[in-house]
């Protein structure tokens, strides 16, 4: 249990998706103009990460890894399908996003109205595929750790986008040199936020 909490906290603050790995920058820059919409996108990302990363973990462990097919028959123990992981992961993500969208539309129209427009965007958000690939690279031990990692990185991403959106709302009233307006200043502020997040690096978990 302690291991899971460690991974959870670590993936929020130390290995933050945006500040340490720049994943999901495109939607981070495009959708962070107001706090309300960025909150919607952030929640949608947490939601999709929580579903796709554990699912991809199961697929990776029982189908793709070297020797993973041994459960069907010992003859398959030498097969290594991990070169297929990119295409399988992205297919799972695209399919799950579609399913989640249909499910939310049927069951909760309120939630759909809030998340609806963001869900299709998420299939091509690098944070989602990135989390699955990191999960594969870091070799977590069990499903609990993977879920902790998925939830943590989602919340880390949510924190980052809501933070920058709040700053950008205030920035509208400040005087910025014309060439730096908009994109330029957003980058520099994200850099400064990342420096602040670097202070978590010293924490050993």
């Amino acid at each position: 249990m302690q291991e899971i909490i460690n991974i959870f906290v670590k993936s929020i603050f130390i290995d933050n998706m945006i500040f340490a790995f720049f994943l999901g920058m495109c939607s981070y820059l495009a959708v962070s103009k107001t706090v309300k919409t960025s909150m919607g996108l952030g929640i949608a990302v947490v939601f999709v990460l929580l579903i796709t990363v554990p699912l991809n973990y199961i697929i990776d462990n029982y189908l793709l890894k070297e020797g993973a097919l041994a459960w069907i028959s010992p003859k398959f123990a030498t097969i290594d399908l991990s070169y297929l992981s990119f295409i399988i992961f992205i297919a799972v993500i695209a399919a799950m996003v579609q399913l989640v969208e249909m499910f939310v539309e049927k069951t909760s129209p309120v939630l759909y109205a809030q998340l609806g427009i963001f869900l299709p965007l998420i299939a091509v958000n690098c944070a989602i595929l990135g989390a699955s690939l990191f999960m594969q690279e870091r070799q977590y031990n069990n499903l609990g750790e993977v879920t902790g990692f998925a939830l943590g990185s989602g919340i880390g991403w949510l924190l980052a986008i809501v933070g920058i959106a709040a700053i950008r709302e205030k920035l509208r009233y400040s005087q910025i040199p014309a060439p730096l307006k908009g994109l330029g200043i957003t980058f520099i502020i994200t850099g400064l936020m990342a420096i602040a997040f670097m202070s978590f690096l010293g924490i050993k978990l």
Partner: protein, 206 residues
């Protein structure tokens, strides 16, 4: 060759640069540029993937049903990325280790999807190929600039070879280790955008 449109290559280098103007493909641009060599390899891989996927989608553009076009695009792109990944693993294994997940992330690199949606779906294969090459090169320029600056000031070397002589270090010169940390990449891109827009006034945002 008739209809060989050089504008398609020239425009993305500055006026329509994918990173600083279209704001596409930032994720990988920042993460792989702490050293010049991985930045160069990454730029080359992205150029190859954009150009080839543009051609393939452009050839298929009239047969793809619009409703499922995203899935079709993702499948084509991820096929190409798997090929690139296998080639990198076979020939430059060290670099492929350094790039780690970012080769896979070319699939969701917004440059690829953005160009497929904006250009290849409505243009002929040759034009799409040139557009892909142009955007790949525009991306490469930024990556290589970032790679040079970050490696030179962060590690005192270029392409792994030491550039700043030992006598400097003896006089008390120190590498700026902030340069190889993630935040500096963001700030450097901010500065590049600033300089670029200061020279092209019409690109400024209101």
């Amino acid at each position: 060759m008739a209809g060989f449109n050089f504008k398609l290559i020239k425009n993305p280098l500055s006026k329509e640069n994918p990173i600083t103007v279209q704001v596409l493909g930032i994720c990988s641009a920042l993460a792989v540029t702490a050293k010049l060599q991985p930045a160069f390899v990454m730029a080359l891989s992205v150029t190859v993937v954009v150009a080839l996927s543009n051609v393939i989608i452009s050839l298929l553009r009239n047969t793809i049903p619009p409703r499922i076009r995203i899935i079709v695009q993702l499948v084509v792109v991820s096929l190409l990325v798997i090929l690139v990944d296998q080639v990198l693993k076979a020939f430059v294994y060290d670099v492929s280790k350094q790039l780690s997940v970012f080769v896979g992330l070319i699939i969701t690199n917004c440059i690829v999807m953005g160009r497929l949606e904006a250009f290849a779906m409505s243009n002929k294969p040759l034009d799409s190929f040139l557009d892909g090459i142009g955007n790949g090169l525009g991306y490469a320029i930024i990556l290589i600039t970032l790679g040079v600056v970050r490696e030179l000031f962060g590690s005192g070397s270029l392409w792994g070879y030491q550039i700043i002589p030992d006598s400097f270090y003896e006089m008390g010169y120190q590498n700026n280790s902030l340069m190889i940390m993630p935040p500096m990449a963001l700030i450097l891109v901010g500065i590049i955008i600033w300089v670029h827009r200061a020279r092209n006034k019409d690109l400024c945002e209101k």
